[in-house]
């Protein structure tokens, strides 16, 4: 018995290799993140050092000061970009979740005419590169008169084939018995959706939230193409403009480094937050 326990405690060479390889892989994958943090605190001479150094030698918050100074002197205040970004991201996230889950529920669990056709159209639209649709998008936004409105930011990302596609796969795994039990219990179609389907889809919703957040938060396309008024543009556009266009390329570098970190942090937070949720719900959902 004791011998057996001792044997269990022994780690096999395979496990050692596995842990080493994965640790190395994880370390390699985290390099860009470390770089972003380190870069933001580099003084100007280190930013332009050749060959470049990976880690900062003399950390300073000077970059952030320059960025704040620049932002407070700009025609449109920094906070306006931030407000636009937050508003657009939260509205988009909310509407993408509502639209995609509803569409996916119906596509996964109901029978109706042309269902196969609709599903294959959604799959087909997954294959288009984003660049190919920017001209039609512009025409639509322009035609609807949505230039310089928040809806112009939101509409292009509203129909998310990736989200619908993922959710259809997920929701179709929810047993039909549950829905039938709910029907007998007296739930309406909307009741089944909100009380049963939506709570059970939380892992998938968390995943599409991460994807949608990252796309929308970093998106400059809507600001560049559909927004002519500076006051309607979003944070990523502002950060981009520090490096290109009107500004001095060299002078902009330190601000860009600081802004790069600031704009990356929400991404990181959202990811960590939702990723834990994904695991949690997968463990406790009890679907399997």
């Amino acid at each position: 018995m004791i011998a057996r326990l001792r044997k269990l405690r022994q780690v096999s060479p395979f496990q050692i290799v596995l842990v080493t390889v994965f640790t190395a892989l994880a370390a390699f994958m985290s390099l860009p993140i470390i770089f972003i943090f380190s870069h933001a605190f580099k003084p100007k001479n280190e930013l332009f050092l050749f060959p470049p150094r990976f880690l900062v030698q003399h950390p300073t918050i000077h970059n952030f000061e320059v960025l704040l100074l620049h932002a407070s002197n700009a025609t449109v205040p920094f906070t306006r970009y931030l407000f636009n970004s937050l508003l657009v991201v939260s509205l988009t996230l909310f509407s993408v979740i509502v639209v995609s889950t509803m569409a996916a529920y119906v596509l996964a669990k109901y029978k109706f005419h042309f269902k196969g056709l609709i599903l294959s159209l959604i799959t087909l639209s997954l294959m288009f590169a984003p660049e190919t649709v920017s001209i039609p998008r512009y025409l639509i936004i322009n035609g609807l008169g949505l230039n310089n409105t928040y809806f112009g930011h939101i509409l292009p990302s509203l129909a998310s084939p990736v989200a619908v596609f993922m959710l259809v796969g997920f929701i179709s795994q929810i047993p039909n018995d549950l829905m039938e039990a709910a029907r007998i219990d007296g739930a309406s179609h909307l009741g089944i959706f909100t009380r049963i389907v939506l709570p059970l889809s939380v892992p998938a919703v968390a995943t599409i939230s991460i994807l949608t957040f990252q796309t929308v938060w970093g998106d400059v396309e809507t600001s560049t193409l559909f927004m002519q008024k500076e006051a309607m543009r979003t944070l990523p556009f502002y950060v981009n403009s520090l490096l290109s266009g009107l500004q001095n390329n060299v002078a902009g570098q330190n601000m860009a480094a600081a802004a790069g970190l600031l704009i990356f942090i929400p991404n990181l937070i959202i990811f960590l937050l939702f990723q834990r949720k994904v695991l949690e719900t997968m463990v406790h959902s009890g679907i399997k």
Partner: protein, 373 residues
């Protein structure tokens, strides 16, 4: 309260020539425990789902308490259903699972609380109310599913193989509890199973189905003693009834069943059944249950009552032993006391208890005589 009437109900699926449920015509009385039993694909679950309102009825009418309910939605039928896989909402606690049906029906909160408490008390799950379904064992889930149905206090309970996911011991225990519960609540219950033991022990009346068609509707005892056809005779009872083909002939006014292996005289009453049929010889299937066959050691060639045979194998169950005897090409299962051990290849003699014979027409496979007698 809770009487159900099926009036020539059919269910046809697109692209299938044979109806899944074929002319289901039956009245279920108030408070009855009706069991639908049959092999998989016999239409028993479809029938239950039509009653629940989860499947459309292709033709025919369905009445609950005399009210036409073909097009009434499931939530307005005043029924509750227990599913095979329990179908507990994984995102809700046990308490919320039981309460959801009441909540959706806008029951007052204090009423919900008291009903949930009472149901949990009856089913002994009071200590589990805060747990999520994933933290429950199979038996506990089963109770919660049952509790969800009971809390609603519906007119009719529908159960779709609710015990099939439990292990054998728990199954027989829960079976007994279900019977008691039904007797206490006195609610009409329609129970679907493929297990004939469950059907026999639970049902006050049993419906045997095959290929969407009702084969027989009868109380358990009658179903066992007087099966309407070969299918029912073979389906009910374990090990299954022994069948052998042969003919019934008349000689000197007496009736005999005979085939290559045996010639058995029939009693006067049994002969009468054949008298009513036209013709002198009838091709029939003779059926006899394993417990109605007597077995003796050794061969008694000269004795008219005993037929010689060879033991092929023996199965011990503890309480009984089943001896497989070969009579030429006929294979007979005999249920006997476990004390006497029969060896493989041993010569034995078997005797069929004459008053326990079942006769079926070879062409139609229907029972001969009994009903009309």
């Amino acid at each position: 309260m809770g009487s159900i009437s099926f009036n020539h109900v059919f269910k046809r699926y697109k692209g299938e020539s044979r109806p899944a449920v074929n002319d289901f015509h039956l009245t279920i009385d108030e408070g009855e425990f009706l069991v639908l039993v049959g092999p998989s694909g016999c239409g028993k679950s479809t029938t239950l789902r039509m009653l629940a309102g989860l499947e459309e009825i292709s033709s025919g009418e369905l009445y609950l308490d005399g009210k036409f309910i073909n097009y009434v939605s499931p939530k307005d039928r005043d029924i509750a259903m227990v599913f095979q896989n329990y179908a507990l909402y994984p995102n809700l606690s046990v308490q919320e699972n039981i309460a959801l049906g009441l909540k959706l029906r806008k029951t007052a909160k204090h009423e919900i609380d008291s009903r949930v408490k009472r149901v949990a008390g009856i089913l002994e799950i009071s200590h589990l109310l805060e747990r999520k379904p994933s933290q429950l064992s199979g038996g506990q889930k089963q109770r919660v599913a049952l509790g969800r149905a009971i809390a609603r206090e519906p007119q009719v309970f529908l159960m779709d193989e609710p015990l099939s996911n439990l292990d054998a011991k728990l199954r027989s225990q829960t079976r007994a509890e279900l019977i008691k519960l039904q007797q206490d609540l006195k609610r009409t219950t329609v129970y679907v199973t493929h297990d004939q033991v469950e059907a026999m022990t639970m049902g006050s009346r049993i419906v045997v189905m095959k290929d969407g068609i009702i084969q027989q509707v009868a109380p358990p005892r009658q179903l066992y003693d007087e099966p309407a056809n070969v299918f029912v005779a073979g389906f009910i009872g374990s090990p299954q009834m022994n069948f052998m083909n042969g003919t019934v002939e008349v000689s000197d006014g007496n009736y005999y069943f005979s085939n290559k292996r045996m010639r058995v005289p029939l009693s006067g009453e049994q002969g009468l059944r054949f008298q009513r049929l036209s013709g002198l010889t009838h091709n029939i299937i003779l059926g006899i249950r394993p417990e109605h066959v007597l077995i003796k050691r050794g061969s008694y060639e000269k004795d008219d009552d005993y037929i010689p045979g060879v033991v092929q194998m023996t199965e011990q169950t503890g309480a009984d032993s089943y001896v497989y005897v070969e009579l030429g090409k006929i294979r007979l299962i005999v249920r006997t006391a476990p004390e006497v051990l029969y060896e493989q290849g041993e010569l034995v003699s078997v005797n069929l208890q004459m008053n326990k014979l079942h006769f079926f027409d070879e062409a139609t496979e229907m029972a001969i005589g009994r009903d009309e007698a």
